[in-house]
Subunit: 352 residues, 2 copies
DNA sequence: AGTTTCTGCACCATCGATTGTGCAAGCGAA
DNA sequence: TTCGCTTGCACAATCGATGGTGCAGAAACT
C-alpha cells in the first residue's frame, strides 16, 4: 500500500486477515459477539487485528444499514450569543455522556432555513433533534414527523411536539419587580420611566411583555400604552429604537427592561461614543444572562434561564415518547448585578 | 402505507412509479442526467414524481458510495465563549454558501477527546475539518492524514498541516503598549504595576507573553520576573490567581494584561462581592473581544482577532492543497474601551 | 449406536445511491 | 440494404456493515 491515503481497513480486510467471516468480524467489533456465540479466542484475535490495523467503523455504512446514525442534532437560531452557546455546551455534555455524537447547527431564525436544515439532518439519519428557539417549530415538526424523527422544542414552544421552555412570564415578573424595587421610596420609579426594548411576536416575547405590563400595573399603578419598543432580535434594530427614543425624548428612560442579551447589544451600540455619565443613573433588567453584561457600569439585573434543567428535561421527554404534546416550564433565576455565575464550562476539567 | 412513519421514498420507489431504472432515477435526481443523455421528458416525469412523493436523497447511502458526505466539520475547544462562537457563526456562513452542511463540535481542549472527535467525524466521511484552538493539533493530524481528510489548524498552529492564526505577538504588543499609554505622564505606570494573568504553554500564550515582556521592557525600561501569572484557560483557576495575588499584595495591580476572555471571567468572579470602587482605577487589556466586556466600569482595551479573515484564509488554503505546512498570521485589531463592534450576526437579515 | 442439543460460525440479502459499461432502437449515409 | 453513429436508457457491481438463518461438528443423552 502507498503510504499516502492508504484506504481504511474494513471488516472485509480483517475477515481475510483473521480467517473469519465478515459477519463474525462485524459482530466482534460492534460488541454483539457474545449474543452470537463467538468464541472468546476468536474475538480476541479479531480485536487484536483491529487494533493493529487501526480499524474504525464506517459509520455511514452502519447508519445506512441500521437507518440511524448515532448523531444527535441541536438546531440553534445563532451561535454567537452566550445563551445559545451555553445551550450548545450543555447539550454536548449530555450527548457525549450517552456515547453519541452531538452536531450543532444554526438556522438563523429563518423558517425556510429551519426546515431545510432539519431535512438535511434527516438525510443523515440523525437519531434525535433538539430544536432551540425556532421561529416556526411546527414547520420543522412537519418535516420531522414523516421521517419518524424524534424531536423536541426548546426555548420557543410548538403545538405539535413537546416543548421545554423558560417560565417567561414568571421570569419577566421577577425582573420587572426587581427593576422597580431597585428604586428607593424617596425617588420611586414612575410608570412612564420604565420601558421595554426588544421582543417580537413570538411566545417568549409575548409572555414577557404581558408580565411586564401586569407587573408595572400592579406595582406602579399604571402602564402607559407606549411602554414597549419592539425591535426583534437584532442589535441594529434595537440601536435604532434607542436612537429614535432619544430623539423623541431627549434622554433615555430611567429604567429599561431589555428582552434579550441580543437587544442588550443594541444598547451597547447606543452607548458607544456617548459619554458614560449619560448612563450612570440607568437601571437595566435584561432577560438573559451574560457574565460580562452583569458588570456594566450601571446596575444590570439579569434573568438566567436554567439551561441545564431545560436540556435535562428535554432528554427525559425525548426518551419517553408520550402522546399529546405538552409544554413544560422551567423556572429561571434572577441574577443580581455584578454576579459571575458558574456555567457549563466549569464542568470541564481545568488545566493550568 | 400507515400514515405514521411511512418510509421515505427511495430511487427504487420512483423507479417503479416512473417505469425507469433506478440508475436513471438516480442520475435525474443528482443532476448528472444530461451527461447520461437522459431525455428531457423522462427527467421531468421523474422530477415530478420526486416532488410529489417528497423524495429526499439518503445522504448516508450517497456518502457510503462516494465516500464523502457533504459535511464540513469545525472542532472547537468550547462553544460558550464569544470568540469561539463567532468562529462558529462565521464558519457556518461560509459552509452554507458553498452548499455544504456545517457541523460544529467541541473537544474541551482535551487531546484525547480531540483525537476521538476527529475519528468520529472521519467515520462519517466528512469532507474537511477545521481544527480550532486544539491542544494537540498534530495529534489530530495523525488521525486525519491516514484517512485522507483535508484539515487545517486555526488559532493554534500545528507543524503538520497549514495553520491560520492571529498575529499574537503583534496583537499583544499593541495591547501592552495601549495599556501603558493609557496612563498619563504625570503618574506613569511602573513596571511592577502591570501583570499578565492567564495563558499556559501553548503557542498563542507564549507569543503573547513574549510580546508582553518585550514591550514592557521597551516602554517601561524594566520587567520584573514575576509579571506573569499563568492560569490556563479556566475562570476558576484565574480567580484563584487573583485571590492569591490579592492575598500577597493587599491589592490588585494598577494594570492587567488578561490573556483571553475566559480568564477575564476569572476577574469577574474576583470582582463579584467586592466593592466596585476597588476596581475604579484599574486598567485592563484583554486579548479577545467581547462586546459586554468592552463596557465594564473601568477601561478595557481589547484585541479582536479577525475571525472572518482567518476563516476566509483557511478555506483558501484547504481548497488549494499545497506542499509544506505553513503558518499564516492574521493581524488582529485593537479595540478601544466602550466599543460595540459589528459581528457575524449582523450579516443575518434583521427581523423586527 | 442413534438422537437431540449446543457451539461456533459462515452465508447472504439488505440498506439506498452511484457509476462504468453494454446494448437496442432510430437515423442518416453509402 | 447495410454500415456506422447517436440517442436513451438498463444492468449490475459496489460502498461497508448488519442480522436472520442455516448448518456442520462436538457434546450430551437414551
Amino acid at each position: 500500500m502507498d503510504q499516502r491515503v492508504k484506504k481504511k481497513a474494513t471488516i472485509y480486510d480483517l475477515s481475510v486477515l483473521s480467517g473469519s467471516s465478515p459477519s463474525t468480524v462485524s459482530a466482534v467489533l460492534n460488541g454483539t459477539w457474545r449474543k452470537r456465540r463467538i468464541k472468546e479466542s476468536t474475538a480476541q484475535t479479531i480485536l487484536g487485528l483491529a487494533e493493529l490495523h487501526q480499524y474504525t467503523t464506517n459509520l455511514q455504512a452502519r447508519g445506512l444499514r441500521r437507518s440511524r446514525s448515532g448523531l444527535v442534532g441541536l438546531m440553534l437560531p445563532v451561535h454567537d450569543n452566550r445563551y445559545f452557546s451555553s445551550m450548545a455546551q450543555t447539550f454536548e455534555g449530555h450527548v457525549r455522556s450517552r456515547g453519541q455524537c452531538p452536531v450543532v447547527v444554526s438556522a438563523s431564525r429563518d423558517p425556510e432555513e429551519e426546515r431545510r436544515t432539519a431535512e438535511t439532518l434527516i438525510s443523515y439519519s440523525i437519531d434525535q433533534l433538539f430544536i432551540v428557539g425556532a421561529t416556526d417549530p411546527d414547520g420543522v415538526h412537519e418535516v420531522c414527523e414523516p421521517a419518524g424523527l424524534r424531536h423536541i422544542n426548546i426555548d420557543l414552544p410548538g403545538a405539535k411536539a413537546h416543548s421545554v421552555i423558560s417560565d417567561n412570564y414568571e421570569g419577566a415578573r421577577m425582573l420587572t419587580k426587581a427593576i422597580i424595587r431597585r428604586f428607593g421610596n424617596d425617588d420611586p420609579l414612575r410608570p412612564d420611566e420604565l420601558f421595554l426594548f426588544g421582543g417580537r411576536n413570538d411566545h417568549a416575547s409575548r409572555e414577557r411583555i404581558a408580565a411586564f405590563h401586569a407587573t408595572k400595573k400592579a406595582l406602579l399603578g399604571a402602564d402607559p400604552e407606549d411602554g414597549v419598543q419592539s425591535s426583534g432580535y437584532s442589535p441594529d434594530i434595537t440601536l435604532r429604537a434607542f436612537e429614535a427614543f432619544y430623539q423623541r425624548h431627549g434622554k433615555l428612560p430611567r429604567a429599561l427592561f431589555i428582552n434579550s442579551s441580543i437587544n442588550m447589544e443594541g444598547l451597547l451600540r447606543f452607548m458607544a461614543g456617548r459619554p458614560a455619565e449619560m448612563f450612570s443613573e440607568l437601571v437595566v433588567g435584561c432577560y438573559d444572562y451574560d457574565p460580562f453584561g452583569s458588570f456594566l457600569p450601571f446596575p444590570v439585573i439579569m434573568v438566567r434561564q436554567n439551561v441545564e434543567a431545560m436540556i435535562t428535561k428535554a432528554f427525559e421527554l425525548i426518551d419517553n415518547p408520550t402522546t399529546t404534546p405538552q409544554t413544560f416550564l422551567i423556572a429561571p433565576e434572577l441574577v443580581q448585578p455584578r454576579s459571575a455565575l458558574k456555567g457549563p464550562l466549569d464542568t470541564l476539567k481545568d488545566i493550568a
